[in-house]
Structures are given as structure tokens and as C-alpha cells.
């Protein structure tokens, strides 16, 4: 008997094809029923609005001014949940409210959430956000449109992208496709797929024409899955419990025996 062949899905975010139209942001808001924001200008690098992801924005196109030769140039980047193959957020959740589905999406079940925000703290990409103003707050982040994927639809952002900057398919195929694009146009792309092996691999694969740290990406992340960091300690819990309890019990027994003997000697004197 074989398990049903579930092939994990992935998306390519090809920033070289992005024109900054933000249709993906609109589609995302629309599908996830998020309210509008009051936008504002802020000082500093990046000219996108809003500045960062928040409880109302599950994805964001970043506008980065890159000085390329004599002229500054707009280079776009995108923020969204990376849907790690081994997600740190899900491993940190004490109630499995955050979990990874077979198809790939890392999703959040508010009915199990206690609101500890360990997932926010754990995420290497700083993705999960919180609605602190709410009486019953929830974790907010991109769901990889898990509900759409379940019925065979592609994520809303991939559906609406007018330039083909977002591609969706089986992860194996997407990796091949991303490598093909880099190989065919080495002048257009930097030879790096962000997400191929970051924190052990993710379900979103980013391509870019400039180094990722210049367009707001968090770089320098380990190539091994984050949950390994805690797992190597936590897996020792049961044996350590047994060994310590036995050692402490033995020492306590010796101590009490010594005390009893001293007590009896005292009586004989």
C-alpha cells in the first residue's frame, strides 16, 4: 500500500520580472479579507507602503533604490512567508496551532493558539505578525493560500501576477525551472536561489538581479533546518529525566541511611 503521492508545492518569486504593480498585494488582501491601511511616508531606505508586513498585509513588494552605474534604479523584492520545509515557527509552537501541511503550506489554527508568540520570535524571516490591539489576538501571515490549494487552485498572488514573476508548481519542478532561468540568462540573474537551501530549504524560491541583502532580504541564515537547534537538546528530555531522578534518588537514599545510623548511634550513647 502506498501513501497518496503528495508532491510538495513551491512558488518562484522572480524579482527580475517584477514591475512593482502590487497586484499580488491586492489579491492577497482580497482573498484573505484584510482591511485597508492608512499609508504613510517614512524616512530611510525602501519606499514601499506599508514599510513592513503586519497583521493586515501578508505579502509586500519592497521598493529598493539601487545605484547601478550613474543612475539609481528601482529593484523590487518581495516579502511573504517562506513556508520552510522544516519550519522553526511550527517547531516552537507549544500547542501545534502552527503546523505544516503535506502540500507545503505552514498554516495557523487559531482555535489552538494560546498567544505566546513563540512562532514570531522563532521565525528566521520575521514573518508572523500579531494584532496587539485585538481583544482576542491572532497570528497573521501568508497561508500559501492553503484553502485554494486544497481545491486545486494556485495561490491568489500567483494567479494575478501580470508579468509571470510568480510561478507555482511542484517544488522539484520549480527548482529545475529556477536553475534553468539562471543558466539561460546569467547576465540577468545573480547565481543564487534564495530559499533553495536557506534553513534547510523553503517553499518560496526567490530570484534576483542584485544581491538579496540589497533588497531587504535577511541573508546569512544557516543552511540547516532551524528546529535542529532545539531538537538536539529536547530529544534528551526523557533520558535526562530518568537518569537525574535515579541519581538524585540514590543520593537521597544514601543521605537518609547515614542520618538513620547517626540517629541510632545517638540513642546508644
Amino acid at each position: 500500500m502506498s501513501t497518496p503521492a503528495v508532491k510538495p508545492k513551491a512558488m518562484i518569486q522572480d524579482n527580475t520580472r517584477c514591475i512593482g504593480c502590487r497586484a499580488c498585494m491586492v489579491a492577497c488582501k482580497s482573498w484573505n479579507d484584510r482591511p485597508e491601511d492608512k499609508t504613510d511616508f517614512f524616512a530611510g531606505e525602501g519606499y514601499q507602503n506599508p514599510r513592513d508586513l503586519d497583521a493586515n498585509n501578508y505579502t509586500l513588494i519592497t521598493f529598493n533604490e539601487i545605484v547601478n552605474g550613474p543612475n539609481p534604479d528601482w529593484v523590487f523584492g518581495r516579502q511573504l512567508c517562506m513556508h520552510c520545509i522544516q519550519p522553526a515557527c511550527a517547531s516552537a509552537c507549544p500547542t501545534t496551532a502552527m503546523f505544516k501541511t503535506d502540500l507545503g503550506p505552514v498554516v495557523f489554527d487559531e482555535s489552538r493558539c494560546i498567544g505566546c508568540r513563540a512562532c514570531m520570535q522563532a521565525c528566521p524571516f520575521i514573518i508572523p505578525k500579531y494584532d496587539y490591539e485585538s481583544f482576542a489576538p491572532k497570528i497573521h501571515k501568508c497561508t500559501f493560500c492553503a484553502d485554494r490549494q486544497e481545491v486545486g487552485l494556485e495561490p491568489a498572488c500567483a494567479k494575478v501576477c501580470p508579468t509571470g514573476a510568480i510561478s507555482f508548481g511542484d517544488r522539484d519542478d520549480m527548482v529545475v525551472e529556477a536553475k534553468r532561468r539562471i543558466a539561460e540568462a546569467p547576465g540577468t540573474y545573480i547565481p543564487e536561489i534564495y530559499g533553495l537551501d536557506e534553513v534547510g530549504g523553503t517553499s518560496v524560491l526567490h530570484l534576483s538581479s542584485v544581491p538579496f541583502e540589497k533588497i531587504g532580504y535577511i541573508t546569512g541564515l544557516p543552511k540547516t533546518p532551524m528546529p535542529d537547534l532545539t531538537h538536539r537538546w529536547l530529544r534528551m528530555t526523557a533520558p535526562v529525566f530518568a537518569v537525574l531522578y535515579a541519581i538524585f534518588g540514590a543520593l537521597n537514599w544514601i543521605v537518609r541511611r547515614r542520618m538513620r545510623r547517626q540517629g541510632h548511634e545517638g540513642e546508644h550513647q
Partner: protein, 393 residues
């Protein structure tokens, strides 16, 4: 038994702080966390977790440290420190859990941890262990009020299970004190390399052990002053010697870890991280270590109180450095605790202090203080009931 006490100005001050915190707490529950707290999307954990939970659990380590010293390593001359230590630990854990109820976004769902299976989550282990350990501490301490109230049957039951429960408490403490550090090993990309180490579980366990004798000494000095008994300076000097060893070893471990990880030069970088590091190491470990190595300091109340207070403040700063100060997320994001955040933690701490002072006056917590001549353990120890379950006839 008489539960009433005369409230001193000190009690009234503490209760006033609790009242102010209760108002802030009401606002928090009526309108949400965002109204009273500055924690944000970049710093989801702030002062509440750094002080209210992580530091409280650390100084609650006095319970298992003194219990292990007396019951497991058999150093019985410190037996008179056991009851205050267990009560302090109970109140620290109760404070941490109260803090958790304020800090969680959905505190009414907290039971979900107990019906989940999440062995990959350090917080899951901390949650289970802290819940079990609070129960253990309550059972350990229950003998004092039960005996005082004359409930013989309940007293006998609690006494009969004392040994396995006590062993369980010490074991659970080792697990969850280290798991609090495990929790932070998950974010090497956020914590400054002065503090992130894959040995953080051991660092957290050792610092909790280090809090033990320091808290025991501070409590003894404070109780002697407020309850009006003569402090046992001979015993305090002994505890201070143990504490000096713990501080020295912890300092060596911290430094060794920095060199082992090859990041020792970060100590001398021109950054606020390095400043915070040196304040923590200098005033929290080096100064008290030197102080406690001097016999004249170990023999004076003021010297002991200064050294131990520095150690506790150092542990607080260490936990804050790991959980809050040492974190960099996005360079434009900042976090400074709000009045509401600090106010609520002050209220919880004041409530714990008041509860300790109240229980210390209505229960025989400090009664077994034999004079130096009879301080070596004997079967006719006046606190026979306290160790009745140990089978000492």
C-alpha cells in the same frame, strides 16, 4: 490558627503597588495588550518575558538549589533555609504564571498546552514542567500550613509522598530551567553573538543554580531584620562560600564559551551590546565574586547583602540581554518597555513580597533556627515534623 497580621507601612506600600497594577491589568484585559504594552511585531517578547517570566523562574531556582543541597547532598546544617526557599520558589513560579496570564494573547486557552503533543517545542516542555513543579512546590510547602492548622490526616498524606515529590521537583527544575535556554537557542540570527550560544540551556541552568544561595542569603538577612531574629552568620558565611564557587564557575563557563565559540573579540567591540555585556559580567559576576572571596565580606550583613543583590541583578540583566536587549530584528525597530509593562510586573512582584511577608508571620517558616552549638544534625532536631517523612525517628 490565626491568619491575621497587623499591616505595617511596608505592607501597605506593597498593597498600594498591587492596586495600581490591578488597574493597569484591568485595562489590559478590557482593551488588549497593545493599549498598555510596547511589545510589537519585531519584539514580541519584552520586559514581561525577560523579567516577569525568565528572571522570576531563574530566582525561583532557589527552591531546587537549596532542596538539592540539603536533601540530596545531605548538607543538613542548611536545613533551616529549606522552608523559606520552597516558599520563595512557590511564589516566584506563581508570579511567573500570573505574568504569563497577562502576557499571553489568549490566556483562556492556556490549558491547550496540557492537551497537546508538541515535543519539538521548548516552550511546551517549559509549560508542562512549570505546571508540574508549581504543584510539587505546593505539596512540599503544604506540610507547614497543614501542621499549623492541625489537619493531621492531610499532613500525613503529604508527608508520606514527600521524598518522591521532592526528587521530582529537583529533576523537573533541571529540565525546565535548561529548557528556557533551549527556547532561545532557536534564534541565533536575532541574538547578539555575545549571548547566543548553543550551550544556552546549560547557561540558564547554571545561572538558576547561582540564584539559589544568593536568594537564600538575602531572604535570611531580610527576615532577620523584619521579623527580629538574630541572623545565623556562620551558616550565611557557609552559603556565601558555596555561592562564590558557583559565581566563579559560571564566570569561567561564560568566558570559556565565548572563547570556544571564537567570538571573544566581540567583548571589546564599540557597541551598546558590549557595554551591557560588561555591566552584566562585571557587576553581576566579577565584583560579587571578589567580594565573596573576602572573609570580612562573608561575615558582615552589609557585605553579604551587597554581593548577593549584585548577583541577582546580574541574573536579571543576563536574562534581559538574552531575551530582549541582545536582540536585533530590523534595524529600524526598537523596543523600550512601557509604564504599563513595568507597572504590572512591579505589582506582581509586590504581591509576591506581601504574600511572603504575610506567610512568614503566620506560619513557622523561620522557627527551626538552632543555635550554633546544636547546629549539626541530630535526630532530636526541633523540626522533626518537617522531615517526618524521611523516616528519622
Amino acid at each position: 490558627m490565626n491568619w491575621r497580621i497587623r499591616l505595617t507601612w511596608w505592607d501597605k506600600t506593597l498593597l498600594a503597588i498591587v492596586a495600581v497594577a490591578a488597574v493597569i491589568g484591568f485595562v489590559r484585559f478590557a482593551t488588549g495588550i497593545g493599549t498598555v504594552a510596547n511589545i510589537n511585531n519585531a519584539y514580541p517578547w519584552g520586559w514581561w518575558v525577560g523579567y516577569g517570566i525568565m528572571t522570576m523562574i531563574a530566582i525561583g531556582g532557589v527552591g531546587f538549589t537549596i532542596t538539592a543541597l540539603v536533601e540530596i547532598f545531605g548538607v543538613h546544617r542548611y536545613h533551616s533555609f529549606l522552608r523559606p526557599a520552597v516558599l520563595m520558589a512557590f511564589l516566584c513560579y506563581a508570579s511567573a504564571i500570573t505574568m504569563l496570564m497577562v502576557e499571553l494573547g489568549r490566556p483562556w486557552m492556556v490549558w491547550m498546552v496540557l492537551v497537546s503533543w508538541a515535543p519539538t517545542s521548548a516552550l511546551y516542555e517549559v509549560g508542562w514542567c512549570a505546571f508540574l513543579y508549581l504543584t510539587v512546590l505546593a505539596l512540599e510547602f503544604a506540610r507547614v500550613p497543614l501542621e499549623q492548622a492541625g489537619w493531621r490526616r492531610a499532613f500525613r498524606i503529604v508527608s508520606a509522598i514527600y521524598i518522591p515529590i521532592m526528587l521530582l521537583g529537583v529533576t523537573l527544575s533541571h529540565l525546565h530551567q535548561s529548557s528556557l535556554g533551549t527556547l532561545m537557542t532557536l534564534i541565533p540570527h536575532k541574538i547578539n553573538l555575545l549571548w547566543w550560544s548553543d550551550q544556552l540551556p546549560l547557561v540558564f541552568l547554571f545561572s538558576a543554580m547561582m540564584a539559589g544561595p544568593a536568594m537564600a542569603i538575602l531572604e535570611h538577612l531580610a527576615a532577620a531584620r523584619w521579623l527580629g531574629f538574630e541572623p545565623r552568620m556562620d551558616l550565611l558565611a557557609g552559603l556565601a562560600r558555596i555561592e562564590a564557587w558557583l559565581v566563579g564557575l559560571f564566570l569561567a563557563f561564560q568566558m570559556g564559551d565565548l572563547f570556544y565559540r571564537g567570538v571573544a573579540d566581540a567583548m571589546f567591540s564599540a557597541s551598546w551590546f558590549a557595554v551591557s555585556f560588561w555591566v552584566e559580567i562585571g557587576f553581576g559576576l566579577m565584583v560579587p565574586f571578589v567580594l565573596l572571596m573576602m572573609p570580612e565580606v562573608r561575615e558582615t550583613r552589609r557585605g553579604l547583602a551587597t554581593a548577593c543583590a549584585l548577583i541577582i541583578a546580574g541574573i536579571l540583566l543576563h536574562r534581559l540581554n538574552v531575551a530582549v536587549i541582545g536582540l536585533r530584528v530590523r534595524h529600524w525597530e526598537t523596543y523600550v518597555p512601557s509604564f504599563g509593562e513595568v507597572g504590572i510586573t512591579l505589582g506582581i512582584t509586590a504581591a509576591a513580597l506581601f504574600a511572603f511577608g504575610w506567610l512568614a508571620r503566620i506560619l513557622p517558616i523561620h522557627e527551626e533556627l538552632p543555635s550554633p552549638e546544636t547546629s549539626t544534625h541530630s535526630a532530636t532536631h526541633p523540626a522533626g515534623a518537617w522531615r517526618g517523612a524521611e523516616g528519622v525517628s
